[in-house]
């Protein structure tokens, strides 16, 4: 812990990692709360996993054909947005089962990624960092993008709070109130997609769902209203990501996994507290 604090002033990569944790927590808390109350954690899961396809393809093009702009981040953003659009296009169609659509996107995205990664030099390290993230490798571009997403999310959540709540609670009633629910839903999915991509840089594909769902679920247990839940879930995300980073750094453990472990512990504690409170006469 002390090594983490003293090294902060020394190493800029560590400061960047801390910055990334803070910025991502804002996005994660807001989006995680809406994903949780809308019960669409698995949508986030499908989008996260299919980004492997985008990252694998982009990395292949970059390494094997020298296409300089094809960075894994670009690939991940494109794959996530594509998945978001596909889900939004298919989800309310009669005869379409959302869980099937999600499984298909989830698995084919990963398969495409694995195929391209196997044909790319440096196979192992790439795959590990995509799957489990590497917050210490975060770039200035990542930080700027996350900051922009934060500004967008905070203003949307602030100005459209009642509309977003109403749609999350009862989509049909919102449609009857004349809200363009389909447009809201599509934007929501694209925002989830972008947030997922940025979180993938931090904690990796496999752990994204946990970082979206666990702090928000813990926040839901200790708050009664959506704005409070969002705030609490941002704070719990901050707690999980900063302490995860601080614990893992001196021990030279993967930061992403440690962040999730802390998030899981927070969730357990919140569940325990809320059960105790409910038992009280």
């Amino acid at each position: 812990m002390f090594a983490f604090i003293s090294d902060l002033s020394q190493f800029s990569f560590l400061r960047m990692a801390l910055m990334a944790a803070v910025l991502a927590s804002v996005a994660c808390g807001i989006v995680g709360s809406y994903v949780t109350v809308r019960r669409s954690t698995y949508i986030a899961g499908a989008i996260a996993h299919c980004t492997l396809g985008g990252m694998g393809l982009a990395r292949y093009l970059q390494v094997e054909t020298g296409l300089y702009w094809a960075t894994p981040l670009t690939g991940a953003v494109l794959a996530a947005l594509l998945a978001g659009l596909l889900i939004s296009f298919l989800q309310n169609r009669p005869g379409m089962r959302l869980d099937t659509v999600l499984s298909a996107i989830w698995a084919t995205g990963m398969a495409i990624g694995i195929l391209f990664i196997s044909r790319t030099q440096g196979y192992n390290e790439d795959l590990m960092s995509y799957l489990f993230g590497d917050i210490l490798m975060v770039t200035r571009t990542d930080l700027i993008l996350t900051g922009m997403l934060d500004i967008f999310l905070v203003s949307v959540a602030f100005f459209f709070q009642r509309e977003l709540d109403a749609i999350a609670f009862d989509e049909e009633f919102a449609r009857l109130s004349g809200l363009p629910v389909r447009i809201y839903d599509t934007i929501f999915l694209l925002v989830v997609a972008l947030t997922v991509v940025l979180l993938v840089q931090l904690v990796g594909i496999i752990l994204v769902v946990a970082l979206l769902a666990l702090p928000a679920a813990a926040a839901a247990r200790i708050t009664a209203r959506l704005p409070a839940m969002i705030l609490a879930s941002v704070l719990l995300c901050l707690l999980a990501s900063i302490s995860g980073l601080a614990i893992s750094y001196p021990l030279d453990l993967p930061a992403g996994a440690m962040i999730i472990l802390v998030a899981g512990a927070i969730y357990l504690v919140s569940a325990f507290i809320s059960i105790k409170v409910a038992e009280r006469p």
Binding site: R162, D165, A168, L176, S177, G178, A224, R225
Partner: protein, 264 residues
């Protein structure tokens, strides 16, 4: 809630609140509703009954504008339903909602004031929400969690959400589902009070609760027959359906009585 002038749409629809003419709706290849002609006048308290799969919910969704008829026309207050959706207070079943949704009763009521529903209450949103809560007798619950309400209270909170935009009509889908009988009685006492201000239409299996207050019964089984008050008063329905109404097969009774509302 004063009623706006209705003269502008007297021409075709008369002064009826709901008019369906020659409506046909098919789901896949099966017609769910056909030859539906229906006219609901202002101030009525309508109970919509019929067997499961007979088209009750489809009828409700056509009136709400959530479904479009294959042929025929649906007019609410003389206009297509989607143009007047802010005048229609819709109360879905409370069972379909996530009971853990993080919102207070007041948050829920204010959700009834989004989009087009701001039209009639602009600048008076908070008063309208407070009034809605008083009408359903939940004014002391406004800061309580939706999650900690009973079934009957949740149903009343959803009515308050529907009332929060000053509608001229209330539509219900099975309001007494999973509500105990004393809460059900209270619910209908409140509805009878609201009926002095607005038209009410209830889709229900449980017409026994409604019978004392309803003015007409609409029997739905692929087609629609309306029984006005004069020919079918509350007591007559009990005679017709028996006391334990949840056990009655509406389709059989309807066809035995020769109402031609069943094709079975």
């Amino acid at each position: 809630m004063s009623r706006p002038q209705k003269t502008e749409h007297r021409h075709q629809a008369g002064s009826a609140d709901i008019v369906l003419e020659q409506v046909r709706f098919t789901y896949g290849r099966e017609p769910v509703l056909e030859d539906v002609n229906l006219r609901i006048n202002p101030g009525e308290f309508i109970g919509v009954i019929g067997p499961n799969g007979g088209g009750k919910t489809t009828l409700l969704r056509l009136i709400l504008g959530l479904l479009k008829p294959d042929t025929g026309t649906v007019r609410v207050f003389g206009k297509p339903p989607e143009e007047v959706s802010h005048l229609i207070g819709y109360v879905p079943q409370h069972l379909q909602f996530d009971p853990a949704f993080p919102a207070t009763v007041m948050d829920l009521v204010r959700m009834g004031q989004i989009g087009r529903r701001r039209k009639l209450i602009r600048g008076h949103e908070q008063e309208a929400a407070d009034r809605a809560l008083r009408l359903v007798e939940l004014e002391h619950y406004k800061n309580i969690n939706f999650a900690s309400l009973s079934g009957g209270q949740r149903q009343r909170a959803l009515i308050a959400r529907a009332l929060a935009a000053g509608p001229r009509m209330l539509l219900f889908d099975e309001p007494t589902a999973n509500v105990d009988s004393s809460s059900g009685k209270r619910l209908y006492r409140i509805l009878a009070e609201l009926n002095k201000e607005m038209t009410i239409l209830i889709v229900s299996h449980d017409i026994g609760f409604v019978s004392r207050h309803i003015t007409s019964v609409v029997c739905v089984n692929r087609t629609v027959v309306i029984h006005p008050t004069s020919s079918l008063a509350g007591q007559n329905i009990i005679d017709l359906y028996g006391q334990d109404l949840s056990l009655v097969r509406h389709d059989h009774r309807c066809s035995y009585e020769g109402h031609s509302c069943s094709h079975s």
